[in-house]
Symmetry: C2
Subunit: 304 residues, 2 copies
């Protein structure tokens, strides 16, 4: 019996929100449907933020309306990012069943990203998470800039531990540890996940890596060896982070699948279907994706 | 005291021989001088093969003539690839002090690449290595296609063990285990290097990875954990075409340096000087290099 890995596909949110070309509501829904058909069971569907701030995520409720029945039928967890009380009200009105909230180790990043201090964001999210739990809405927490901030530089690992504790304490079901701008080195990943796993166990922790320096997959294996079994990634390495200068796309989903299936884990994802969906999304965003595995398109789990 | 890592820079041979644009003898010599100035102590300088087969490597003796004094002064091992008796005679006439010979696990690959069966190549190289040792010429052996062959597919790991044994037996000082076309998965690397290290020890073994599927750096860490301390790489991932399956570039030297220095090993290589040399070689080959670390150019060993 293979150990299961949970992959959270962030392409339709963390990916598309940083692409220059905005996709229509219909295309975003079609993208999610195609992603669900690959076998992915956990996806980010969009962001409930101001369209002035992130125009690519406008009308995320309409995307949810188009795909929620399919998601429920398939047993897929489709979550939407909520930045404040207004966002949570939108999630509630749309009868969403899974949301994500986020904070950062860096005060400067939090200020620029959500217009609040870290403590202010925690106070607001604490009430939101409490209300969400009463409505049986699943909540994921993100800690951003854990491995480095574009404005402040290096971050104290104990800050990540304290914030993770806060997010669990307020009721988050899972906390994702974010290398928001892709500066993490495997040595840092070894050390930070060792601290986190000792404190919280590995089950409800996720690793969220970007591939700015080509280290993302090596970081996945490092976190895996600390016991982590949940990873965030985006198809073809779509996107980046709009508030993070110099940040490149997320780790590519197909490379996580390839690495982990080859190591004997089960991801439940069909690699050929991922490749087909990547080709489809390329035609929509109007640029080629650059993931090496995608460009070399090997046959499914045939190691040659 | 940090553990030292030996990096063998193959950019001027395995890299340039796969680039569409041929560099002049003067530019190839300048490239090697710049590489030596980064702190690299082991480099491939060229190939002593027919210019009909590999025009990019024409007149490799002239390159050697231009840089050999500098190499000797700096204590650099500058090696040239020899494919047959004729190539060895050229190395001897040019008073080279380091050569490399190569075989493959795949009969089909050997036939297509050197026009001989594996056994024929071993017979010829055995005499060449014996003659080289009498002249105190250092000899490196390569085993190609260990992790997969473009013509035959999967390869038996015990074939790599047997060929490595043959190469050491005939007198090779070091044997490099080649993922010639970049299909190796970390799981294979774990298994094959475990076998090899148990049999031969790690000291005289090297890992040679290409990054066709984005796995190369994860493969380095896997080999490292089996005890391997020598890695082949090319500056900026020179060589091959990212869109042509089976011919992608080598693992990028700067990414090996970044990974290993960050893990606490010493490579002796100046990262900023590597970046400057990569920019120089881009201007010569007429295309941009695509290594992610190079494109993001972080400051030297400052993890943010």
């Amino acid at each position: 019996m293979k150990t299961k890995i949970k992959i959270l596909e962030v392409g339709a949110r963390d990916g598309l929100q940083n692409e220059a070309t905005s996709l229509s509501v219909g295309d975003r829904a079609e993208f999610l449907s195609k992603l669900m058909a690959t076998g992915l069971k956990f996806l980010e569907g969009g962001s409930l933020v101001s369209p002035t701030a992130i125009p690519q995520m406008i009308d995320s409720e309409k995307v949810w309306d188009l795909v929620s029945a399919d998601a429920v039928c398939r047993g897929v967890d489709l979550s939407f990012l909520v930045a404040n009380r207004r966002g949570f009200e939108r999630a509630e009105q749309a009868h969403m069943n899974s949301i994500a909230v986020f904070t950062a180790t860096s005060e400067t990043f939090a200020k620029k990203n959500i217009g609040k201090s870290v403590q202010e964001s925690l106070t607001e999210f604490s009430q939101i998470v409490s209300d969400a739990k009463k409505l049986k809405i699943r909540v994921r927490g993100y800690v951003s800039t854990v491995f480095g901030c574009p404005f402040e530089g290096p971050q104290d690992p104990h800050r990540a531990v304290a914030l993770t504790e806060e997010l669990f304490r307020m009721g988050c079901d899972e906390v994702s540890i974010g290398d928001t701008i892709g500066v993490a080195h495997p040595k840092q990943v070894d050390a930070i996940f060792k601290l986190l796993v000792e404190r919280f166990g590995a089950k409800a922790l996720a690793g969220h890596f970007h591939d700015t320096r080509g280290m993302a997959l090596t970081n996945v294996r490092a976190a895996l060896e600390q016991g982590v079994r949940t990873f965030d990634s985006s198809l073809g390495g779509l996107g980046g982070c709009p508030y993070a200068p110099g940040s490149s796309g997320n780790l590519a989903t197909e490379e996580v699948v390839w690495l982990l299936e080859g190591l004997g884990y089960s991801t439940g994802v069909d690699l050929d279907a991922l490749f087909e969906t990547a080709a489809w999304v390329e035609s929509k965003i109007g640029r080629g994706l650059r993931g090496k595995l995608y460009l070399s398109k090997p046959k499914r789990f045939n190691y040659f």
